[in-house]
């Protein structure tokens, strides 16, 4: 190694020890608001998280930072939906979807469209959900490289198919979502996909297989420790067990789901 290379390494290592360049104050406040919002959202303090994300959006506007504005809008939409403010959750995404100035990247468009598909489905608007999911999927497929949101898009499509009374199509879409999620090591979407496969199997009368698939989903969700998902899994397991003729297991699952529900209510 010659002396220049050695000098370069020394300079680089010296850089590690020295404090990095300080970001401008507004930029630092923007990052801080986003970070605090995320920690509060993860801790379940949705109202606090919403306040942080609203601050972050305002700061992003003052800095003309379109990407930060989009990220915080999407985060705020998630938090608003958790708070039950569905209309606000949709409104906050409108500027990204409209994008009159073409300021937002394809990735942000895709994320906003996926969020709108999810919210439409939650509001039992199947047609709207299918439309938004289709737009997100087209964007996902046209983008170079892997698309991390594909399992979620497929899961939304599978759930829409299930709600529309097409369990066979729902099952095949959810299977693809499960495979893709496994490849991407996305446990959350993997469990969601398995839950949908289980529901589709039950709808097709394959009750024993449904119990088996739903148990797998429950095992993953237990690792993720999300009470709402665990409750959903247990309710589905109760339905599937009852349909399979196992009343004792069905009652057990139902009681466990009820216990989680009560605990969540007490927590509130």
């Amino acid at each position: 190694m010659n002396s220049r290379a050695l000098f370069s390494i020394v300079v680089l290592l010296a850089g590690c020890g020295a404090p990095g360049p300080q970001p401008p104050a507004a930029q630092a406040r923007l990052e801080d608001a986003n970070m605090r919002g995320s920690s509060q959202a993860r801790a379940g303090d949705n109202a606090g998280a919403a306040r942080r994300y609203e601050d972050a959006m305002r700061l992003a506007k003052t800095l003309d930072d379109a990407d930060a504005f989009a990220v915080n809008s999407i985060n705020l939409s998630i938090v608003y939906q958790r708070m039950g403010r569905d209309a606000d959750a949709k409104t906050v995404l409108a500027p990204i979807v409209a994008d009159e100035r073409r300021a937002y990247s394809d990735a942000r468009h895709l994320q906003a469209e996926l969020r709108l598909a999810i919210m439409s489905l939650a509001a039992r608007d199947n047609a709207g959900a299918i439309e938004w999911a289709k737009r997100a999927q087209n964007r996902c497929q046209s983008g170079a490289g892997g698309c991390a949101q594909l399992p979620a898009i497929l899961n939304v499509q599978a759930q829409a198919a299930l709600e529309a009374g097409q369990p066979a199509e729902a099952s095949s879409l959810a299977q693809v979502a499960a495979d893709r999620a496994r490849q991407l090591d996305d446990k959350s979407e993997h469990a969601n996909a398995l839950r949908l496969v289980g529901r589709a199997q039950r709808a097709q009368g394959e009750n024993a297989a449904a119990v088996e698939t739903l148990t797998k989903a429950w095992e993953i969700d237990r690792e993720l420790a999300d009470p709402r998902k665990l409750m959903a899994d247990l309710l589905e397991l109760a339905h599937a067990s009852l349909a399979a003729g196992n009343k004792v297991a069905a009652r057990d699952y139902q009681e466990r789901a009820a216990a989680i529900s009560r605990a969540l209510r007490d927590e509130k």
């Binding site: 370069s8 994320q111 489905l121």
Partner: protein, 301 residues
Amino acid sequence: MSKPFSPPVRFARLALKVNAFLLIALLLVAAFLGLVAWKQGWFIHQTGINFVTRNSLGINKGMPVKLFGFTIGTVSDMRLAQNGVAVRMSINSAYLERIPRGSRAKFSRESGVVGASVIEIIPGKGEQPIGEDEYMDFEPARGLAEIIDDFRRQAVPAFNEIKQTMSQFNRSGEEVTTAMIALRREIDQIPETHRAVKRLIDSATRTSVSLEHLTGTLDRADFANKLITTLDSLNRTAATAEETMLRIKPAVEIGENAARDAGEIIAAAKRSWPLKEQYRQTEALLPIDSFEAYGISPQKK
């Protein structure tokens, strides 16, 4: 005439007492032997299973044989065979059904490379348990050389990446030198650039004066002449600015190249171990979860 013999009354029935004492002692010894035999497992039925190794170094009589870390027998005998050493293991017959045909014996140590050596049984995929006096395959222990070779195989890609990063640093050093030479050349030209900038400022001042004059005399008859003068002045300003830009351009290009190179180097360094772990992207976006479409009422908090 001697007195007739009369047995001593003090040791009456002595023979009976001695015999009883001896009998109790014998029973105690037998019980002790029985206990020792039981503890040694002499009453447990053992099944002999064999394997042949080309090298019996480290294998001794009495060495424990383990299945899943649990002792199920011992090495009972070793003898020289045609192709190596035939080792016989005495396995507790109760555990034999857990050793199917196709199982392998492996020499290993309790704590990996160091620790007490044992024979480990690795169960095979067969369904029928192995029988008395049957032979199983033996897997010798990995030597230090093999372990080092394995480590080398895994470490080589990492070292190659470090080497690549180093060569990128090296190249960057050369480019920095080139950039420094070009920068020095530009520094030499600074006085001239300074003069050009001064001319530009003078020109701009004149233009400004001309414009003010123009504003004040818009309604005058010689408007056209002054406008021509102003346009000439603006032309000169533009030419000077262009000249200045042409001078600055190489320096800007060099700066751009240097910045791009630095970016590439930092990106390569970030990809390389051990820096990779320090530069994980923190995602500012919350995970978008399709479960939110499920319709379970959210936590309104």
